[in-house]
Symmetry: C2
Subunit: 147 residues, 2 copies
Amino acid sequence: MREFLKTKGFKMTPQRERIFKAFFGLGQHVTVDELYAKVRESDRSIGYATVWRNLKLICKVGLAEEVNLGDGVTRYDRITREPHGHLFCLGCKKLIEFETTEMVPGLTAVASAQRFKPEGFKIEITGYCEKCQSEHKEAETPQAVRW
Amino acid sequence: MREFLKTKGFKMTPQRERIFKAFFGLGQHVTVDELYAKVRESDRSIGYATVWRNLKLICKVGLAEEVNLGDGVTRYDRITREPHGHLFCLGCKKLIEFETTEMVPGLTAVASAQRFKPEGFKIEITGYCEKCQSEHKEAETPQAVRW
DNA sequence: ACAACCAATGAAAACGATTTTCACTTTCAA
DNA sequence: TTGAAAGTGAAAATCGTTTTCATTGGTTGT
């Protein structure tokens, strides 16, 4: 890892070591807060900004990517072997992954038809998971608009 | 429109009238700021919050939907006849649409395989448009991490 | 038409996640 | 070892979004 970072032009530090380890130890779709909490378990002196900066760094060196579901928080998703999409439950906010390998050629074709150079694909389905479907009530004819 | 809103349980107001007109007059993928600016051209007294609330309202009554590209601003996309995806240029931030009608059945199948009730599909391709490809330099071996 | 009720508005403040600043420390290459 | 450049931590700044609150103004029933 130290060598890998060096080839990218970055230095290894103790904090970085812990942050990287924690990030790759956690599952997918990690938020800054989650990683910060995790890192703090092993070192109470590491600051929030450092965790944030390293999450950005991990993306910059190509080991993860940001995922935005529109709920106000950025998640960081480890880049895995296979491209995948997300099912995002509007009820419990849970993310489920699904394979999208076979969709990529089609999307690539769409892009090149527009002379567009693709960098990344994002496929998301929002809705309600099995558990939340029953609990979810249709908010019909709202009596007032409260936001 | 007045009648339509009434059936949904909302009132028509002069401000609402102007905001709706401006929104449907503008193209797709409108931001709050853009709509606010547009609305202000015809009425300097309309507040930002009102524009924002009405954009939310337009979504609530099913005439538009929020689009999040991960660049920090929410865009509001008029719901059109055909489902579509977006090509988002990381250079000039321009959005290009493309048809996704034939992809929907596949995604619906993915969802139901997980017993997931889909509410919306999002397909996005990030990259660089023809114009920006030449101007875009590969930020290789950064000399320092500045954010 | 009138009153009463409740939604809508505008300005400003609150929020909250993200990003930057700054002074200080650490890494790494020469 | 030593200097230059990168990294860190705490705090503050940003910035888009959302809420609050007092006031205005539609809508409905009489």
